[in-house]
Amino acid sequence: MQFKVGDLAEMLEGEVLRTTDNNSVVVKIGGKQHTLQLLKSGTDEFEFLLDNSFHHAKILQVGTAEVKMMIDGQPLVVKKHSKLTEVLEKASAIGGVGGGDRNLTSQIPGRVVNIAAKPGTEVKKGDVIVVLESMKMQVAVKAHKDGNLKEIKVKQGTSVARNDVLAVIE
């Protein structure tokens, strides 16, 4: 299995070779062999030794092809890459944007303080559509692509959560 770690360009290959006696496994990561010894595991949390280094991993979110974690206190996303994911990625690029791409979502929880664009108008990527307020700061939510602003799904005063759909751009 190939893994894409964070923004690193090179993929890392990872596989388990064999288990040894004392609760260790021998793994091959990035072309080299390492000993992986699990010390403690709980719900979504692992403490392990990779060769002679101690590591702590907390799994935050597991998607079909990616794992969001805190590794040694640092947030990191690891994407699993198989032949299947490659095929799917190519297909979506050719077929144009899927339904999910129409939605302009909020990256943060907050309150809508200003609607900065008119539904039915043409917008360009980067245009401010909605302004949210959180922690006494104002954050501008910008259009993620060019297109027609079909609909704004919130109004002034609405409270939004992370990933809520704010507007639809086609």
Partner: protein, 500 residues
């Protein structure tokens, strides 16, 4: 007029409320906390001797609700109110309300606050006291000719500022008289359209400036002392990020000279209690007074670390009418202290606010490390209040020791559940310009620090890459006999394994 304070209501929340509570406990004073709906499980509520609910989450209905707070103070029998910083700390009406209700306000008099709150009036008072101010108009400029005359005297480039509309709005730059004329026309029109009148003033534009402030304390007997400087040049959108003492460009002679000027400034406004005189320093070494902050500031621990003083205890003492016991020459600067403001913002995503529960956190410890925070495992970081979640301080015998201690403390600091600005500070601690002391208020842009931070994150990801992959192998069950490992590591103890 001396009154012994036996109980204090803290009109604030978060880390500063906890700070004041700690000083109260040190002095055997009863601490009374207030909290909104949002803060019912906050640490300051847990630590205070008594806690009173004062309203819903929104600040206007809780921490800014003067009437409710004074009412609560009377119900609770508080002798005094400590306003912390922000909220009502510089509100002269609140200070007066406390006076009228026989409650000691731990801070300056409402009269002094009114004066320091009006920048133009304050500037005029400073000029009289021969405190150097930013060259420019003493008040509103009547017409273009006056603006041009003042600009000539102050020297271009100049800023044209609107007397109304704060927060950086209505500030225009003019590099010569022709540009000034153009900007004046536009600014006047804008000002008239928005506020009905064209109220502008002219100020010399200082470039490559450092923000250097002096901590001050003045008692009710007229004794003023300065507690040295803090350099706060590293900022973003006029919000301080890092503060330190001493400043890399302030030697003992300068410290004494500007300290004496700062003392003159607080004397000129008949100030009371703790405050800070802010200066801008140009690359030629000239200091210009800009304003007095009439409150205890966020960065006060920096001064506490290099002087050994407890500023909150000093505030309480002064509020009780006590006279300062130390002379200016008794004070000595010891070592170097740096503070990093840890904010719940994502520095990789335009500093977007980050809120929610912090399931777990690991605070740094060790020699010279101090953390002022309201965080604890399971606490809530709310979107109703500001984004400061912790102040991380490092003291060392010299700058390098404090810088390296800070770097390592940042590595130890782990906060789960929210994004924080910790990665930004890690990059800055290793930045050669920071190490050289090459600071100015445009430091972040000047040295492209955010780009460096992204590069550093890539390097860090490289180091953790293999461990991350190992974690995924463990998580996705690629490791066969994972079940067996779970069982054995949880049921058997190490002793048994060794014997077996």
């Amino acid at each position: 007029m001396s009154k012994k304070i036996t109980s204090i209501l803290i009109a604030n929340r978060g880390e500063i409320a906890l700070r004041v509570i700690r000083a109260c406990r040190d002095l055997g004073i009863k601490s009374i906390a207030i909290y909104s709906d949002e803060d019912i499980r906050a640490v300051h509520v847990k630590r205070a001797d008594e806690a009173y609910h004062i309203g819903p989450a929104a600040p206007a209905q809780s921490y800014l609700n003067m009437t409710k707070i004074v009412e609560t103070a009377k119900t609770a029998g508080a002798d005094a109110i400590h306003p912390g910083y922000g909220f009502l700390s510089e509100n002269e009406n609140f200070s007066e309300m406390c006076d009228k209700n026989g409650i000691i306000f731990i801070g300056p008099t409402s009269k002094a606050m009114e004066l320091t709150g009006d920048k133009m009036k304050c500037k005029a008072v400073m000029k009289k006291a021969k405190v150097p101010t930013v060259p420019g108009s003493d008040g509103i400029v009547e017409d273009m000719q006056e603006a041009a005359d003042i600009a000539d005297e102050a020297g271009y480039p100049v800023l044209l500022k609107s007397a109304f509309g704060g927060g950086g709005r209505g500030i225009r730059l003019a590099n010569d008289e022709k540009q000034l004329r153009q900007e004046f026309e536009m600014a006047s029109a804008e000002s008239r359209a928005a506020f009905g009148k064209a109220a502008l003033f002219v100020e010399k534009y200082l470039e490559r400036i450092r923000h250097i402030e002096f901590q001050l304390i003045r008692d009710s007997h007229g004794n003023s002392r300065h507690l040295f400087e803090r350099e706060c040049s590293i900022q973003r959108r006029h919000q301080k990020l890092i503060e330190m003492s001493p400043s890399p460009v302030v030697d003992q002679k300068t410290r004494e000279r500007i300290g004496e000027i700062a003392v003159r400034a607080v004397d000129a406004v008949d100030y009371l209690n703790a405050g800070t005189a802010e200066f801008l320093r140009d690359p030629q070494g000239n200091f210009y007074f800009i304003e007095i902050n009439s409150r205890l500031q966020v960065e006060h621990p920096v001064t506490e670390l290099v002087t050994g003083l407890d500023l909150v205890k000093l505030q309480i003492g002064v509020a009780q009418g006590e006279e300062l016991t130390f002379k200016q020459q008794d004070l000595k600067m010891n070592g170097c202290a740096i503070e990093c403001r840890i904010n719940a913002e994502d520095p990789f995503y335009e500093f977007a606010p980050s809120t929610g529960i912090v399931p777990n956190c690991n605070l740094p410890y060790g020699p010279g490390i101090r953390v002022d925070t309201y965080l604890y495992p399971g606490c809530n970081v709310s979107g109703y209040y500001d984004s400061l979640v912790a102040k991380l301080l490092a003291w060392g015998r010299n700058f390098d020791e404090s810088r390296i201690r800070m770097k390592n403390a940042l590595d130890e600091f782990m906060i789960e559940g929210i994004n924080t600005t910790i990665p930004l500070y890690k990059t800055i601690m290793d930045d050669p310009n920071f190490i050289k002391g090459e600071l100015s208020t445009d430091y972040l842009e000047r040295f492209k620090i955010l780009n460096k931070m992204r590069e550093d994150a890539k390097e860090a990801a490289k180091k953790s890459a293999k461990a991350a992959v190992a974690a995924v192998l463990l998580q996705s069950g690629f490791v066969r006999k994972t079940e067996a490992i779970h069982q054995s590591s949880m049921t058997k103890s190490n002793w048994k394994m060794m014997r077996g």
